[in-house]
């Protein structure tokens, strides 16, 4: 190892040690010993319902924590209790609606946009920009059905593969590695 490299590595090591040891200077602001509020736990329950709807145990556990939270500010605990009952009855959709109501949010579930006859007679719903923004948007899965533009892109991509393969074959090296190796061996024997 050259002296220059040794000096570089020593300096680097010293910098790492100084950097790591100065960690205390930047007090950790992320962790908190304060127990989560009921509103936070309700929000997490909704997120669990959205992300892991099949994990009933986690959802129930988080909802129980919300019910037992000391800080109930910002959450309607009656609605939270009703949501727990709905969850026990296996109605996760209803439970989620109640939880969203409990922390002052409207329903965020993706609903059928076509109105029922009753809804047509009712007052018009507010325009999207007037309605409350959703708390937890559902996962967005782009449509897998192919339209005309998709077929054009597929055809162009397939053409690129074909033309590229043709050009790669045309521009291939004159000798393969195996033939070069064999040639070198033959030359040595001669």
């Amino acid at each position: 190892m050259t002296g220059l490299l040794r000096a570089f590595l020593s300096t680097l090591a010293a910098l790492v040690v100084i950097g790591l040891s100065s960690g205390e200077a930047f007090a950790h602001g992320g962790e908190s010993d304060t127990p989560a509020s009921a509103a936070d736990l309700v929000e997490q329950t909704i997120a669990l319902m959205v992300n892991t709807p099949d994990d009933h145990e986690s959802v129930t556990h988080r909802l129980e924590e919300a019910l037992e939270a000391e800080d109930t500010g910002g959450a309607d605990m009656d609605l939270v209790a009703q949501a727990a009952e709905a969850l026990d009855e296996g109605d996760m959709g209803r439970a989620r609606e109640l939880l969203e109501g409990a922390i002052g949010m409207g329903s965020m579930m993706q609903e059928d946009p076509s109105p029922t006859p009753d809804e047509e007679d009712a007052e018009p719903t507010p325009a999207p920009e007037e309605s409350e923004p959703p708390l937890v948007l559902e996962e967005f899965r782009p449509s897998r059905s192919l339209d005309g533009g998709d077929w054009v892109l597929l055809a162009a991509s397939a053409a690129a593969v074909a033309v590229g393969a043709l050009l790669a074959w045309r521009f291939r090296p004159a000798d393969t590695i195996r033939s070069l190796r064999r040639g070198a061996r033959t030359g040595r024997e001669e």
């Binding site: 936070d40 909704i46 593969v161 393969a165 090296p173 070069l180 070198a184 030359g187």
Partner: protein, 356 residues
Amino acid sequence: MEDRDVPAPVPQRRRGPGRRLIGAVDERLGVDALRYPVPEHANNLGWSLGGLTAFTFVILLVTGVYLAQFYNPTPEAANQSVREISTDVWLGEFTRSLHFWSANAMVLLVILHLLRVVLHGSYKRPREGNFLVGVTMFALVIGGMFTGTVLKWDQEGFEALLHNIEVAYLLGGLGFWLTPEAAANLPILVRLYSAHLMLVPGLIIVLLVLHALLVKRHGISAHPSIPGRSRELDEPFTHHLRRVGAFGLVLLGFLGLLSVLIPPIIGATPVEGIEVTRPPWMFWWLYTLENWFGLRAILWASVGLGVLLVLLPFIDRGPEREWRRRPFVIAAVGLVVLLLIVLSLLVLVTEPEQHL
């Protein structure tokens, strides 16, 4: 007459307009310097992996510029703006999908390129410096993948960011830039966006130029199993570029097919306090280690792998480059690769756990 003493003009072959154009450009920009000789074996697929990695980088730049016109990097709007790119922007879904698949391809190709370099001992003297440049670019590619994951601002990206912040705290002063305290008046998402757009690609471009110049300076390394006395020809580097371009066209087409047929999903908007997602595949090995040993394992394992890569050319210093004649180094590298694969596959049978 004096005319008799004038030598007859040498007949010149008329050049086509394409050649004349190249000649005119070369006269002014010196592009002919790219015709430096490289060994014939450089035109094989295995030796074109570095070029293909650069090709995916170009795809990422083009698609990234388009996506940046519509992406909103504020936490309140980021996830929604990605959805709108997919639904409202002309070719938005395809562009985002192509960006996503190209990023994955770039990581895969850079790993394969690295393995090819290790297998053939291409990092040996005098190419140690260029190997370190390459390792730095590898780290930047992973950094680009990480920041890109965070930018979509779904539960997966948010959890990735929280892990990153916690690891930054563990790093102390060295990780300060990656903590929210570094610029309290600005959401960290915005800073990561600027890093994704400028810092990461900017540094990759600078290092890519240096990498290419050093390749020219030292030449493409000889194939260890082809003796120097073989009849292997030299070809101009432009022929290497030509073949990389052909392979790149195949790759682009393949990525285009993937982009149309399997567009990436956008996860639910994030909520703090839950851990329910798995990271992208290149971080799976770290995810398993975190499940076993806690958050610190992410830091120590990443640093450990980085140090091993940096030290490799200084540990394996013998002149031998044929892999069969370097059994200890190849066995050690093989063990590390096997370990990374096993740790990654374990994610498939591991349930996400709460760490933060």
